[in-house]
Symmetry: C2
Subunit: 260 residues, 2 copies
DNA sequence: AATATAGCTTGATATAAATCAAGTACAACC
DNA sequence: GGTTGTACTTGATTTATATCAAGCTATATT
């Protein structure tokens, strides 16, 4: 159950200065004054690179680090004893992963890299200390939590009350717009398409469906000319129709994104 | 769409002193030092009473107040345009309702009283100011958010990956234990039973099912002697079997409850 | 006491999604 | 260049849950 830290690769020196970090504007330390960034820098471990499918942490572990995702895609999920996997949230660069207030208790979910990822690791012990010292950090974390909860609610509405087709449409739009909102950090982002590393099984596990059913449903969406998912790329072909089908509200998903 | 404030009834003077408040140990202001409670008291509006089925706020409104639930049960839900209702969370005394970080945007969910409720109302404008002034408050809010997210994840796992029977069992156990954890504040709490105001339709809307199917499924649970729901009372008759069926983990639900 | 109403039950039927089972395309590896 | 394995597709069938419809309690209302 213990994490094998051989999975981690220390990243060579460049772009490890918090003060110059291009992701910081999206991340937890956005609000920290420059002169306080020494704190951040001091408690931060090196940046780590993780290969696709590798786990950042696993449910049941006591949390040792929290992470700012620097690049790549992460799936956060829970598993039930009978094997089902439920992805409750995908993380994108800038997102803060693995933090829970009571660090004494084991964490209740897992996080897995979907692409090669880079993360900045912060020991939770230090982090909790800094949270007490720098109030602007706490308020920043509140903003981010507030946004997380909002996404969580929307996702739950999807899973609980929408058809397979609607769920799929909703997820495509959510991810498309989240990626576009931070477009300059995501390689391969175009006007109406994005790089898209999710397998149909990932989609199924995020939507409470089976991969077989996702395949069929995706085919319908494709045949109707609404989207295209090929070669790890998602293209939105008819956004109005898709938005209407999914009952998607762009404002809710990105209105209070940290960046904006 | 605007709230009709005639719905609210100002509660007569007793028990409105924050310093003596029996709910405070569970609520946002738990961590506030006694000498700082004047802030709390100052920004707090009167306590309000709301009748069952009345709404505290509705999705689409700009949030004007956030509330500490003082007594009673509240359902927090979203509706999709085609009429479906999804209850994402039930609130109990001590819970903090209706807060979102960016107060400039409309709120994306509604809150409705399931019983007669009493709330303490805090204007979000003032609240944001106090959050900046009193760091202990921010950290407290982080704890509460962290717990909310945890419950949300668990609920999502239920809705996305469990059978109707398991979902129902899980929800019964979650609510049973949450109520018991604050038992002294909940009238009618016994060793193995609690007052339980939810209708089968409420259950259905929380679980992503129809009320017809809840009726049938509940019957199965009853026939198997696992629970009994009668006269607005929930009795857990066979907790081990129920826990096993639901794959319920009591620790996750209440381990980092504010009280503990 | 009579009546209305909301919540629950139960049966018959329909449907969305799961499951089981083969087969295909395609990238990764030797 | 062939082989292996993973992801995806497609068809046939089953199952869980939804839908439609009618009747049944309780509780509240007059």
């Amino acid at each position: 159950m213990a994490i094998n830290y051989d999975n981690f690769i220390v990243k060579p020196g460049e772009s490890t200065q918090c003060a110059q970090c291009v992701v910081r504007k999206l991340a937890l330390f956005q609000g920290v004054k420059l002169e306080n960034l020494e704190w951040t820098q001091a408690i931060r471990q090196e940046q780590f690179i993780l290969k696709p499918k590798r786990r950042l942490f696993e449910e049941g572990e006591p949390p040792r680090y929290a992470y700012t995702l620097f690049s790549g895609w992460v799936a956060q999920y829970q598993t039930s004893p009978d094997g089902g996997r439920m992805i409750h949230q995908f993380a994108l660069p800038g997102d803060f992963i693995g933090f829970q207030a009571k660090s004494g208790h084991p964490i209740d979910y897992s996080a897995q890299a979907l692409t090669e990822i880079t993360v900045c690791a912060f020991p939770v012990k230090e982090l909790n200390k800094v949270l007490k010292e720098l109030p602007e950090l706490s308020n920043r974390l509140i903003d981010m939590h507030s946004h997380t909860i909002k996404l969580c609610r929307q996702h739950m509405l999807s899973v609980g009350r929408k058809s397979a087709k609607q769920r799929l449409a909703y997820l495509f739009l959510e991810l498309f717009h989240r990626v576009k909102a931070i477009g300059d950090l995501m390689p391969g982002t175009e006007e109406d398409s994005i790089a898209f590393p999710l397998s149909q099984e990932d989609l199924a596990d995020a939507l409470g469906l089976t991969s077989v059913h996702v395949s069929r449903t995706l085919r319908e969406l494709t045949d109707e000319g609404l989207v295209s998912v090929r070669h790890r790329r998602l293209t939105i072909l008819n956004e109005p129709a898709l938005t209407d089908l999914a009952q998607f509200d762009k404002a809710i998903v990105i209105q209070d994104h940290p960046l904006l």
